[in-house]
Symmetry: C2
Subunit: 476 residues, 2 copies
């Protein structure tokens, strides 16, 4: 990974310089990262990118050329630039486990650090986690629509730059895709890569039949043939079946066909009938034309005979919702060795932050289904042996009581006093974790459109703190 | 730049391996990159990312670890892997100048190379040029809406990964932004960086007034103050004016204020009145809340008193149109030392490609306004001393005749026989080129919604070639 230390907004430096000059740069502060809305009007968000966040923090260092560049801006004096040369992250970062399913307003990352450090990392922390979480979430929606059919990530050529293609593939696999066409992503993240041939392959030969035959002979165990270069039903399919018969005669099992244009519903039904009639019941039909979760739902409900889905542009850009609006807000400052809660008030009630040094607890029933989340102050303990009553933070008369539950604390340490305590995990292991997390959700929270809203309440202690702080501020 | 040689779709390798085994991998082919639709339903597209494409081609090289990875896929034999070790790009690449304004279906990049090389680079060529062109185009739309007001790029935290933030800033400046908040982009591309302070700065001090005072004393010549942390009209503005008066007394000229929330129309008018009443006629009002070209148009038409615009998420992701659908299609193959045109036929007339080895000519009138583009075969010469009649490619009775025009040939060499002949240009020089290009367009082509369609016709020779090829194919 290249050195991203300067990858931040200029105002972080103008502010850090100010704190330095005021000699308050070492004040300990706490920032939460959270988001206010799920992408695509969905019911949840998968947190992703934690591994790259850890790399970023581990590699923070101002090189001489970075300092020279900052000097060239004529905004900073030498004492400050010398101070930056010694920069090293010394704080604590807690995060939910990568691949966790989270909900609006919950702290997903918590940074406790000297003010200048917490401020420097804001922008890139958000950049990394916003993007990968967005794509993992989108992928999980597409996979949910596809049911048990495999979904493949095909979007590199339309991704928003090389990193978006690479980290987007990683996130897509964590969100549920079974593989990607992106070879470098396969190498970097040890995830499955997939791919067969393009229309240009077929065009390069004198006949479609010859192109199929050459391809199938070369990859007899991976003989997925693209059948829509000329005419799917009158040319592509008859030629594919000829070649599949030849393969079968040699003892191989044909893989199937890919369809990249035309009326997917009609064509897939005709293709299925042709394959079945020739006895290729197991040959799959891969579709790959401008797909997303909405189109897949519609095709499946119309009985289209598609067995796997290659999804490109609309997944890798999350096209209906191309940004996750994660924010990073001050929630406490240390004064005389004690953390004092801070709040940001707004006329817009949704924009009022949750104050204090917090954690999140998830309540599971005995069938391991997630029932609700509770944002708590970090020193609160949820006693599983007692009843737990939670209440809606606005309509406080809406209450619910749980017994026989288990409570899981979600924020765990990545860095303690600057030391990385995070254990690297394989992407495929994170993927498995995510799939388990998704299985703890009732399906109504995963619905593609108009999902139920999952309960995220505040502990009584946090609710009291927040409302007292709001009242006090309003008095001023 | 990291080595991106493996950044491609797996099917490129399965196909290249096939060509290698058939011993046709050295056949010379020609591919065009073009797009079928402008982003955001706009009237034009700015081509951007050429410099990074050149870097990518110059750095193509399979490292040992890349070969090992490809070997691990169990798809390729040693002879092919040994062949890849020697990979070197040896072809010709022509492109329009970076920052050019282009239109649907025009070749913007033309690759003539041995088949295996042309195929390998497809995906990353598209990735790089699609993204930067998308953002440069979006930025130019936002700047057009803002008229003569400066536009600043603020999107890093919501960009689709680090590269999207970096190359997106570069493209945004080429498209017309006057600067970016992204410090690393400033360093890498030598573009202006801008930034002042965040709400957290104000919150860190005991009072807003103190926070403003400290800030203004530190940066007396760049004293842009964020006035909406608590209450714009009752706290932010009175405090800002107090500090501005102090600055004026010390002989400095206050920069202005920034507004990041609330009703921009109403607040900006009130702010302007307060600043004017205090005699700060030159102090600017920067707005920065969820802006794009549509919102800016509306604010300007309602008389909002905003003098510069900070644009984030919706610019850096091109949120209403988050991908440019650039494609890369075979248009000719060399047979017996002659280029033979190739065409891709489709039932959808818009998807039929333009065959042959082509160039694009732009026709300017004597006032240097672009009148029309003509896609020609590369060996055609447009004689400026004669009349030129062009015709619509579908409604061929629609004709237009030009005299006293100048004709500019748009595709120029980047690589010749693998040798880079491209001269590196400063980003700010590309930006100037783009602004000049945009000035050659009549404003109706730049309109934000429902722009006029710019004329892109085919030369008679190309039109005949294409229609003959279609007729011949239909006969089969």
């Amino acid at each position: 990974m290249k050195n991203l230390t300067l990858l931040t907004d200029l105002y972080q430096f103008t502010m850090i310089n100010g704190y330095f000059k005021q000699n308050i740069h070492n004040d300990i502060v706490v920032f939460d990262m959270f988001f206010r809305k799920n992408p695509s009007k969905g019911g949840y968000t998968i947190v992703c990118g934690i591994e790259q966040l850890v790399d970023y923090i581990n590699n923070l260092k101002f090189e001489d050329e970075d300092i020279s560049y900052l000097r060239s801006l004529n905004l900073f004096e030498d004492d400050f630039l010398d101070f930056l040369k010694e920069f090293k992250f010394t704080g604590d970062i807690y995060s939910v486990e990568e691949g966790s399913v989270m909900f609006p307003n919950e702290p997903i990352i918590r940074v406790k650090a000297p003010l200048y450090q917490a401020q420097l990392i804001e922008t890139t922390l958000l950049n990394i986690v916003n993007f990968q979480s967005l794509i993992a979430t989108k992928a999980s929606r597409v996979c949910f629509a596809a049911g048990s059919d495999p979904v493949l990530e095909f979007g590199l050529r339309r991704a928003q730059g090389p990193d978006a293609g690479l980290y987007g593939s990683r996130a897509a696999v964590i969100g549920g895709c079974v593989g990607t066409a992106n070879v470098l992503a396969g190498k970097m993240f040890n995830i499955p890569v997939v791919g067969t041939h393009a229309h240009s392959w077929v065009q390069k030969f004198d006949s479609e039949l010859e192109s199929f035959r050459v391809y199938a002979n070369m990859y007899p165990n991976k003989s997925l043939l693209l059948v829509d270069t000329y005419d799917v039903l009158n040319s592509g399919m008859p030629n594919a079946i000829t070649v599949f018969n030849e393969l079968r005669d040699k003892g191989f099992k044909p893989s199937g066909v890919r369809l990249d244009s035309g009326d997917m519903e009609y064509l897939s039904k005709e293709i299925r009938a042709m394959l079945d009639e020739a006895g290729f019941y197991d040959a799959s039909i891969v579709a790959s034309n401008d797909l997303d979760e909405y189109k897949i739902l519609e095709l499946k409900s119309s009985g289209a005979k598609i067995s796997s889905w290659g999804v490109g542009t609309k997944l890798i850009t999350s096209s209906d919702s191309p940004a996750l609006g994660g924010v990073y807000k001050l929630c406490a400052v240390e004064e005389n060795d004690k953390l004092v809660p801070k709040i940001k008030i707004s006329e817009d009630p949704e924009k009022i932050t949750n104050p204090g040094f917090k954690n999140v607890v998830r309540i599971y029933n005995k069938h391991n289904k997630a029932e609700a989340d509770l944002i708590i102050l970090d020193d609160e303990i949820i006693d599983e042996s007692k009843e737990l009553t939670i209440f809606h933070p606005v309509y406080t008369w809406k209450k619910k009581t749980y017994k026989n539950f288990t409570a899981k604390r979600l924020l765990k340490p990545l860095f303690l006093s600057g030391k990385c305590v995070h254990e690297k995990k394989d992407v495929m292991a994170i993927r498995e974790y995510t799939q388990n997390e998704l299985n703890t959700l009732w399906p109504q929270y995963r619905r593609i459109t108009s999902p139920e809203e999952y309960k995220v309440d505040l502990s009584e202690k946090l609710w009291d703190l927040k409302n007292n702080m709001i009242s006090e501020r309003r008095k001023k």
